[in-house]
Symmetry: C2
């Protein structure tokens, strides 16, 4: 059996981001994986749900906990197309998530620039499909400017 790698799962997260783009949401997608199984998928729905807390990561953390029957996600990896914000990094802290892999950097509102504390046991990997994720975000903001 071939192990599925970060690129495989990030591509699915990118598909989630594209779903958000299609409905006029800031295009961010997330997949949460546990033992090579996808336990949650989500895309940003803040406009649709009229709710600032409806970031893709927040929905996926709730959904993964529901799927696994545990609110702690120590053995899970969260693949997210954009660097998490303070709120989402804060949620990942409480979930004690095992690993976060993200694609595009968010130099302004990303958790690193803002110094948000992630859980000491969370491993972070960056740079997986960064350009592709950035392109989707750029497409969204360009579309928005033209409207």
């Amino acid at each position: 059996m071939q192990l599925l790698d970060d690129k495989y799962f990030m591509q699915i997260a990118l598909k989630e981001a594209e779903k958000a783009l299609e409905i006029g949401e800031v295009p961010v997608g997330v997949v949460i994986v546990c033992n090579q199984q996808i336990v949650a998928k989500a895309h940003n729905l803040t406009q649709t749900l009229n709710d600032v807390t409806a970031h893709a990561e927040m929905q996926a953390i709730t959904s993964a906990a529901n799927s696994l029957g545990s609110k702690y996600l120590k053995d899970c990896t969260m693949y997210v197309t954009l660097e998490p914000c303070q709120m989402c990094a804060g949620a990942s802290y409480w979930a004690q998530i095992g690993r976060i892999v993200f694609a595009a950097d968010d130099e302004k509102r990303g958790y690193r620039a803002l110094g948000t504390m992630i859980h000491p046991k969370t491993i972070v990997t960056t740079g997986v499909f960064t350009d592709k994720a950035s392109d989707i975000l750029l497409e969204f903001f360009q579309q928005k400017r033209l409207k």
Copy 2:
């Protein structure tokens, strides 16, 4: 007409915290107020819902947006019995909440100690019923230790 003050609304938030205590949740309560009207009330439900994102503030922000039909809560005050964490302060940033009033300090995991950025227009008031809120939290942790 007499204007209702911070103590009035914090007492209602404390009642929410007591509801959490009764069901074995970390006792934190929230009330969100807009133009002297309560638009959302919530208490922590992380154990009950098996969801780390179910902090009282998160639920109340979602509920207030739903109640007002606006995801921005610029004219609202959030009364919370414990200093918000990174996640909840991060959510209040996105909601651009007008004011946060909190009772007990959280020196370890509160947003101030962790340097979380709140919205530049959010006004923060502390010290309203600090002892009462701390007593409820202390009661919870003492009960837990005895079990």
